[in-house]
């Protein structure tokens, strides 16, 4: 049972078709599955729906697939900082379902955990809750939100062992973990593939069961949206 593939293209072989619902990890440009997004763009599949917290920026992340018009719909919490997105959204070429960030993360986690729906206070009394079922619990009103099950999950990790056990690094974990669990198939790209036994079993963020296919995507040239620094004190 070999999970490791030589390239993003090989790892996605047989998984892509028009109209897929794809769950993608990442927050802004932090921890996005760059190699897999590139390979999906190059495959030419279209009418895609992406469940992803953000939509990348111009020509970075999902932004690349917006430019090529392969995306039909986004399910996201925040889509700023993206001119091509704005153009397609305003001209109604692109459909957008806004979902509060925590509800989005929980919907992915729920889908992956066999929970078709849950109740939350988030969004009650706002447009987000319009048309959805409401229910009272202990005197408070909650709205029902649905779990998300994607056709495909694409995620970016830091290290994985050859069995597929995976670790993330710092805030690049973000949506990668819940996104990985909610797809029928999960393809992961990591910075390094290490021998089985190299990772501490107590520190695995994503057990191998969730990683169906794996590539090493190194080297990475990670982009930063806003570099903010402080000055080093004088010695």
């Amino acid at each position: 049972m070999k999970k490791i593939y030589d390239s993003a293209e090989a790892a996605l072989d047989g998984l892509l078709r028009d109209g897929l619902l794809i769950a993608a990890g990442g927050f802004g440009l932090c921890g996005i599955p760059e190699r897999l997004l590139d390979a999906i763009r190059d495959s030419g599949v279209k009418d895609l729906t992406f469940v992803s917290n953000n939509a990348g920026i111009d020509n970075e992340g999902i932004g690349k697939l917006l430019r090529t018009r392969q995306v039909r719909k986004m399910i996201s919490s925040y889509v700023g900082e993206n001119k091509e997105f704005e153009r397609q959204f305003l001209s109604k070429e692109l459909e957008v379902e806004f979902c509060p960030q925590g509800t989005l993360a929980e919907r992915m986690r729920a889908g992956g955990a066999g929970i078709p729906a849950f109740y939350t206070k988030t969004g009650v009394g706002t447009v987000v809750a319009e048309g959805k079922e409401h229910k009272e619990f202990d005197g408070e009103t909650y709205v029902m939100e649905r779990g998300i099950n994607a056709d495909l999950s694409i995620i970016k990790g830091w290290k994985a062992d050859e069995a597929g056990n995976l670790m993330f690094r710092k805030t690049a974990r973000n949506f990668n973990q819940p996104a990985a669990t909610c797809g029928k198939v999960c393809v992961a790209e990591v910075e390094e593939i290490v021998p089985v036994g190299s990772l501490d079993p107590d520190c695995i963020h994503l057990p191998s069961i969730y990683v169906n296919r794996l590539i090493c995507g190194a080297p990475y040239d990670k982009k930063i949206e806003f570099v903010t620094t402080r000055e080093r004190e004088e010695a």
Binding site: P100, Q101, A105, T120, G125, T171, N176, Q177, E225, T229
Partner: protein, 213 residues
């Protein structure tokens, strides 16, 4: 003289208690971190999956994998921990965060807040704001008392789409502070910025409020 951005942030920081876990929004709320009272341990949460936000990094320590919810580079502390977005919002939605400071376009006299979209303008999305106002124990809004065009922002009813209904506990503007003791009570004007009068507040506020200076 009305409070400036830093003074508003400093005023918000007075609400911090020892041991608090706090989420700070983008803009003026971020400045609150500069005014954490000496001797109090306050841990900052970032909803993209971190507890214990450190200061901006030194230029040679910038790390693309280490950003805050505003996508700015930050640094970690010895006490930091990382987690996924679902765990982060389990923390927020579950009422484990003691306090959040947010900006707002409008706040109503019933504590509704609108801070995520203006009909007709490009919608960028609510991000984590709806989760924060629904889940955090205490919600502080920091905003200018009136809009750039001079119209009141603390009003009888929000005209913009809501972020949350009946959620705001404290409003800090450049002119003063409004507080309410619970979500069934009216807001009370409890503080004035130096040189600001009760009359000036009254003139620039359409929301109903009590005066308890």
């Amino acid at each position: 003289m009305p409070w400036d951005r830093n003074q508003m942030a400093a005023r918000a920081a007075q609400e911090l208690e020892d041991g608090f876990y706090v989420n700070l929004g983008i803009g003026i709320p971020t400045l609150v971190a500069n005014y954490i009272p000496v001797g109090k341990t306050v841990t900052l949460q970032s909803e993209n999956g971190m507890l214990g936000i450190g200061p901006f990094p030194y230029p040679d320590e910038v790390d693309a994998d280490l950003i805050n919810a505003g996508k700015q580079t930050i640094s970690e502390l010895a006490s930091s921990s990382y987690f996924s977005s679902d765990q982060s919002f389990a923390m927020i939605r579950g009422g484990h965060i003691d306090l959040t400071v947010l900006g707002a376009m409008e706040v109503s006299q019933d504590g509704d807040i609108a801070n995520w979209m203006i009909p007709g303008k490009m919608i960028k999305g609510m991000g984590g704001a709806m989760d924060l106002v629904a889940g955090v124990k205490k919600i502080i809004v920091v905003m200018d008392h009136v809009s750039k065009s001079g119209s009141p922002k603390f009003i009888p009813e929000c005209s913009l789409p809501l972020t949350g209904k009946n959620v705001v506990d404290l409003i800090i503007t450049d002119l003063g502070v409004f507080r309410r003791k619970d979500h069934d009570s009216p807001f009370q004007l409890v503080e004035l910025a130096p040189g600001v009068t009760e009359d000036e507040i009254a003139e620039k506020t359409t929301a109903a409020y009590e005066v308890a200076l």
